[in-house]
């Protein structure tokens, strides 16, 4: 299946079930305790990661804190 991650089309191996939670592990997403996930245009609550199924055509953005400035 193909999903869009951070603006890039990404092909993933077929799996019977794939949640946002398992996708974060599969992709070894950096700083996973702090990453904000935008799922099909909506910010996903952290406790919804386990129950949100990822399907072909979904769009995900991983958003990170950036604290610098001085």
């Amino acid at each position: 299946m193909t999903i869009t991650i951070n603006g890039k089309e990404t092909a993933l191996v077929e799996k019977p079930s794939r949640t946002v939670e398992s996708l974060l592990d599969e992709l070894e997403v950096a700083q996973r305790q702090y990453v904000t996930v935008e799922f099909n245009g909506e910010i996903l609550e952290r406790d919804a990661f386990v129950n949100t199924q990822v399907k072909s055509g979904d769009t995900l953005e991983f958003l990170y804190f950036m604290g610098g400035g001085l």
């Binding site: 951070n6 603006g7 700083q31 305790q33 702090y34 904000t36 935008e38 245009g41 909506e42 910010i43 609550e45 953005e61 958003l63 990170y64 804190f65 950036m66 604290g67 610098g68 400035g69 001085l70």
Partner: protein
């Protein structure tokens, strides 16, 4: 009425149909607060002074350090040891003697921020720690004052503009600050010196556009920039109904100091 000297100084603005004499007058009447006189604050302060923004506030408790000079272009070698707000004020006045500069040699906190921002039309976040970034968001949202968020690290930057009650705020995306020391910061992880020049100039552009009432602000969009790959990306955002400060059932109704995040950037 603009004087002859003003007409000449701002001629390249005045000839733009989006600005003209009327727009330049709006800039003269504009009041912008810059929080942080560092990497982001440097280009912001220089450009806003040059643009003729009538009243500019600049807040920072720090003194200029030798390690600042690689990117904080408003401060010169001879300024090392001087309060950053003083150093900044001197350069802003050298560019534009007509600018009214108000300096705040203090860190913003829950105790002073509401009072400080109330004198301004637009606020720019040029700080380097999450405690300040969340505090600025909360104070601006609660006070209904639009602001520009900016963040930089290593080769990456991000910025967004927040119009309280109309567009997504920082807490719509990041409900709570990360715990202390969870996320690396510029002083720990480094930053390429030109990066705040790019991001700060975008933030200053937003302030100017807001005062002019022209164009489209960077609202409901997070603009990210990577200097190594030389790529800009725009991530569409919308207000989050469960945002703790601007959502349907806000749990934050007053400003608070995020003590856990306070020393994140090793101030």
């Amino acid at each position: 009425m603009l004087t002859e000297e003003q007409i000449e100084r701002y001629s390249r603005h005045i000839m733009l149909k989006e600005i003209g004499g009327k727009g330049q007058q709006r800039l003269f009447d504009g009041r912008v607060l810059i929080i942080g006189a560092g990497g982001l604050g440097s280009p912001i302060a220089l450009y806003l002074a040059a643009a003729g923004i009538g009243s500019i506030g600049i807040a920072d408790a720090d003194d200029v350090d030798l390690s600042n000079l690689q990117r904080q272009v408003i401060h010169f070698t001879s300024d090392v040891g001087k309060p950053k707000v003083e150093s900044a004020r001197e350069k802003m006045l050298a560019i534009n003697p007509a600018a009214q500069i108000r300096t705040y040699k203090e860190w913003v906190s829950a105790a002073n921020i509401i009072d400080i921002i109330s004198d301004y039309d637009f606020v720019i976040d040029g700080t380097d720690n999450f405690a300040a970034k969340f505090l600025i968001n909360d104070a601006c949202v609660l006070s209904g004052i639009p602001y520009s968020h900016g963040g930089i690290l290593q080769f990456d930057g991000q910025t967004m503009t927040v119009k309280p009650g109309e567009s997504a705020c920082y807490r719509c995306i990041f409900p709570e600050p990360p715990p202390k020391d969870a996320i690396p910061t510029c002083s720990q992880a480094g930053v390429i010196g030109v990066l705040p020049g790019v991001l700060g100039t975008i933030q200053a552009t937003e302030a100017i556009k807001f005062l002019l009432g022209k164009g489209d602000l960077l609202t409901n969009r997070l603009l990210t920039y990577n200097a190594l790959r030389m790529k800009f990306r725009e991530i569409p955002l919308k207000r989050n109904p469960s945002c703790p400060i601007c959502g349907e059932h806000p749990t934050i109704t007053a400003v608070k100091d995020e003590l856990d995040a306070l020393t994140v950037c090793d101030l």
